[in-house]
Subunit: 176 residues, 2 copies
């Protein structure tokens, strides 16, 4: 698998993201991502929807991008560019046919979220000073157990995002 | 197109859903759906995410299911079944390749939301008394201009949902 594709449909960010326990509304994590020092933001699963996507190839996932209040306000006001303290969360699930739905319709019809892949959670955190070397964004990735990706993996993020500097390094557009 | 597929990845509900203007957080609509009398709920675009899906065939869309507070609480507590005043919203967009993303990766990679189809918005509203004849749920559909589907179309909803009575007539499962 190409490591750069981990960061495919990316996503925003902010400095000072705190870990916390959020049993129903997001995963708890005490481990910070290497390099960028980002922890899983509290309550991200309660954030509002930015958009959805299906990624093909080795990823083969279906995903939702959620944004903190700063992100949603910025998108609705026409972002990119995004202000500091923006955070974009990306949740991915395996892309699987829904056997129970297909049975009702008598044909292949629905593809739905399956199990959590190793690249289950990603975050982009905007802090134009702290993350100046990577376009003003910090990057984080966690598996379903809250374990962060290693440094080598996280170093593959920016080279891909750099290609879309004119979109403030963010792949995802807002879906109305 | 098979009309029943309009209601494919369905969704919840409540009586007394009010129309309102919500320019940034949802579409405004003054027209109620025939039969069920449901209007577009205020602020639905700000609701929390239940799940996502891709529908194949003539629908060929990518969609997000959002829930009001009652819906989210119920799902996280193990629903179905869902309590009265639950509302599930379903937003659909055309399923299109992202040319701008694919260009970065040099291959077909991303499928993202395109334009709004005629079945852009759907709602399921739970009111076990008011909608007793259709499993306790009322159904509504609107296009991007807020125009509701006609009665003939809405009468195709329940026959499909009836097949999943054991899931309280709701196709969508919560994606963690």
């Amino acid at each position: 698998m190409r490591r750069i594709s981990f960061w495919l449909l990316a996503i925003a960010s902010v400095s000072g993201v705190l870990a916390s326990t959020a049993p129903a509304s997001g995963r708890a994590d005490e481990e910070a991502v290497p390099i960028f020092g980002i922890k899983i933001p509290s309550g991200y699963r309660d954030w509002r929807l930015i958009s959805v996507a299906h990624e093909e190839g080795s990823l083969n996932d279906i995903r939702a991008m959620l944004g903190n209040d700063k992100a949603i306000r910025a998108y609705r006001a026409g972002a990119p560019p995004f202000p500091d303290t923006t955070i974009i969360a990306r949740i991915a699930w395996a892309y699987v046919p829904s056997e129970e739905n297909d049975k009702v319709f008598g044909r292949a019809q629905s593809f739905v979220p399956g199990s959590a892949p190793d690249w289950y959670l990603q975050f982009m955190v905007k802090d134009s000073k702290k993350f100046a070397a990577t376009g003003g964004w910090g990057y984080a990735q966690f598996n379903k157990d809250g374990k962060p990706a290693d440094e080598a993996k996280l170093q593959t993020c920016f080279p891909c995002h750099e290609a879309i500097k004119d979109r403030d390094f963010v792949f995802t557009r807002y879906a109305p």
